[in-house]
Symmetry: C2
Subunit: 457 residues, 2 copies
């Protein structure tokens, strides 16, 4: 009935496999501990310095990441298992072979990346929940104008400038120009929410424009990628992307009007734990999946889901329950964004970095001015804080890093240009939070609101 004994070796392999799974978990747990410590130390320090906590979380990520401590590093940014201090710790604990370490490093990095992606999806869902669709609708035209200016001006100025001043060939120049168009909804809206201006007219225009920008950014990336691939633009694909993105957002909001009531009815019928939060996350994750499936960004779907559920009677109760979930997931996103950046390309003492620094200086100027001018595109809103809107559009954040990441892995961008884009992304991202606080503080009508927010928190 039983085969002759042939198990010792396969058993070892299976035990090793199970053991590997357990080591991946060990690595994920340790990474999360480091990420949470970095986010809290950075966030609290930032708060003490009267800066938005999210800035501190980013800096915390830079400190534990590829730039300084090498605790949380990722294969995408060129790190190997031997660069990771955490992997060395695991190797010392378990006496692993180099091949095991490499495979554990890969799996662990993928897991943290997925957790970070879920983090930004949950962040956008929460922001959707906090945004008011009617308010957003009121500023829809202004947001569209701001978004378009914020895409066209930096793209044109960046591409033309790189070609004329620095002699960059057309394709890399267009790619770098495209990287200038993005706006980070995540960072801007987190800062706006932290300083209590998410629901101001300015805040709603910025968020609206950032959403539209995200859609435009996806289209620009698709166009640039197809341009690099074939040497010509696939008009059909561009038209498809524009139609898909627009109809997705409008369609989900329209359908949401009907879904609202069913959602409340379902949540009220459920009697087991998670009766509100599970249906909400099913909806949010399904919308994120849908957006991803039609080649838009997942965060767009989560944002739309939040907007829809914001209209329900369960809004407050849901908000309350989403907060601790977001508290656990969102820091993973911000810390890993910081951790993936390698600041060593900034060191001016190394001659080969200087070329990149010169281009970086140019890109930064274009990135800032190109978005600052958007504030003056707002019409029919007397007394609006145009400076705040312009500054709110500046951070490139995760979206800019996606451009830089694809460009750097592809070979379209050479080292100096890559470095320049990364520096531009870092600086614009770090500049916006204090800039926004300054802009809102300098506006007399907002002074009171800021003070009351400060005293509450």
């Amino acid at each position: 009935m039983f085969p002759p004994y042939s198990f010792p070796l396969p058993l070892l392999a299976a035990a090793a496999e199970a053991e590997n799974g357990s080591i991946v978990l060990t690595g994920v747990l340790l990474s999360l501990v480091v990420i949470y410590l970095a986010s809290k130390l950075g966030g609290e320090l930032s708060k003490r310095l009267d800066l938005p906590p999210v800035l501190g979380e980013l800096v915390g990520g830079v400190v534990v990441g590829a730039s300084v401590l090498h605790l949380v590093v990722f294969p995408e940014s060129g790190s190997t298992a031997s660069d990771s201090v955490l992997m060395s710790v695991l190797q010392a604990i378990d006496g692993l072979s180099p091949e095991t370490v490499a495979s554990v490093f890969q799996s662990q990095s993928e897991a943290i990346t997925i957790l970070a992606e879920l983090g930004v999806i949950i962040l956008l869902f929460e922001i959707g929940l906090e945004s008011d669709l009617r308010e957003l609708g009121k500023v829809g035209y202004q947001a569209a104008v701001v978004a378009c200016i914020g895409v066209v001006v930096p793209f044109a100025a960046g591409t033309v400038g790189l070609m004329y001043f620095f002699g960059v060939p057309a394709i890399p120049a267009i790619f770098a120009g495209a990287a200038l168009t993005a706006t980070s909804i995540g960072i801007t809206s987190k800062v706006l929410s932290e300083i209590g201006f998410l629901k101001s007219r300015e805040g709603q225009i910025i968020v609206g424009a950032a959403v539209i920008d995200d859609v435009l950014g996806i289209i620009v990336l698709a166009v640039v990628a197809s341009l690099a691939k074939t040497g010509e633009v696939d008009i059909l694909n561009v038209v498809f992307l524009i139609i898909a993105a627009t109809s997705f957002l409008l369609g989900s909001i329209l359908l949401g009007k009907f879904f609202n009531k069913s959602f409340v009815a379902i949540a009220e019928k459920l009697q087991t734990r998670g009766n509100l939060v599970i249906p909400a996350f099913v909806f949010a994750f399904f919308m994120a999946f849908l957006a991803n499936a039609i080649h838009l960004e997942a965060i767009l779907g989560a944002f739309a889901a939040g907007l829809v559920l914001d209209e329900t009677d369960k809004r407050k109760e849901l908000d309350q329950q989403v907060i601790p979930i977001a508290d656990i997931f969102v820091p993973i996103f911000f810390v890993t964004v910081g951790a993936k950046v390698d600041l060593s390309v900034l060191n001016p003492a190394i001659p080969s970095n200087r070329e990149g620094l010169a281009i970086a200086a140019f890109l930064i100027v274009v990135a800032i001015i190109g978005k600052l001018v958007t504030g003056w595109g707002v019409f029919g809103q007397p007394g609006i804080n145009r400076l705040a809107i312009g500054i709110g559009m500046i951070p490139r954040g995760e979206v800019g890093l996606v451009f830089a990441g694809i460009g750097s892995a592809s070979g379209v961008l050479d080292k100096p240009l890559q470095a320049a884009i990364i520096i531009m992304v870092i600086l614009t991202t770090f500049l916006a939070p204090p800039g926004l606080r300054f802009a809102f503080k300098s506006s007399p009508e907002s002074q009171e609101e800021i003070e009351s927010v400060d005293s509450v928190s």
Copy 2:
């Protein structure tokens, strides 16, 4: 300054890489939607039938898993990408190559597995938070006796029975006997909490014994693995494991007495979001990491962390915030446990299954009787519900599946024996929840308590 154009192919590769990452995310999101739907449908149905929701979540997992719908399947249980309906959906949406599908399937399964593992860690953390250390201490001796009987009786009866009645060679028989020793803390304590008996004397003895069982189970697995590897038992390793596990639990509880006050002090000093929940999770994840690092189970560390934080003044507030986080993570664990089981080995119409069914019937009898008797090992507790304690120890759950998984992948266990162990794990796991309700309902002194719990929920 720029190299000649050499980008189209690498750009494609990089775009494909980025695209892969995005497809993995799409797969994870879709899997989570299916998992949540299965958990809610199963849980609610179970509740309507007056059964504990967790049983429905397991059945929901079986339905969407390898047995029926093939929506959520895993490489560990022998499935390939082509067995996964979700992967076919992704393939249809994105027109992927078979190699891409295989790699996306692998990454997506790893991500869901890590989320499930975080789920059971968070579950044990929550259970630790809900357990009272002083109550647990009062029943410590009884729990130890119950645990030891529950390990020795099924192990001896199972191994000897398999060798004498079924002619199974010694090593596979010992392996199968070892699989009978485990107790699933997760399932039992979830059921106890759902029917409102987690804090009863019986509940505390069961949870305490399950914790000790988990420690013993790890030692048994280590012994069996080293026996299979070398043909002899590494006494030194066994002694090390026993000392490590005991001193870990006692040490963390003792250190916790001091850490308590620092934890509250830290949480009170923090001013940013997540000021309570992030330090708590840093502690829980660090303890889980520590347990894993010294080759114990991560859940042991999370449980210890919960026990320690239960002693703080922040207990209630923390509990409130952990609930929605657990609501999001824990169902992933229960649904995947169900999904990993393949019920097709149960089909008696296929002749080759019959041998396994006979062995299964024997193992099930041993598994039930071997744990039922533990209730009569309790001393010095007049009027205690011995039947409830015995039933509470029956479910093997995830721990039993770990034994079956390692055994099946290793070749120690042939097909019929593998199938028999899996059937035993399923049945014991599914029997316990209704059994526990029955046992507690039949106890007159508990009747009132159950009714009041029923009317609340």
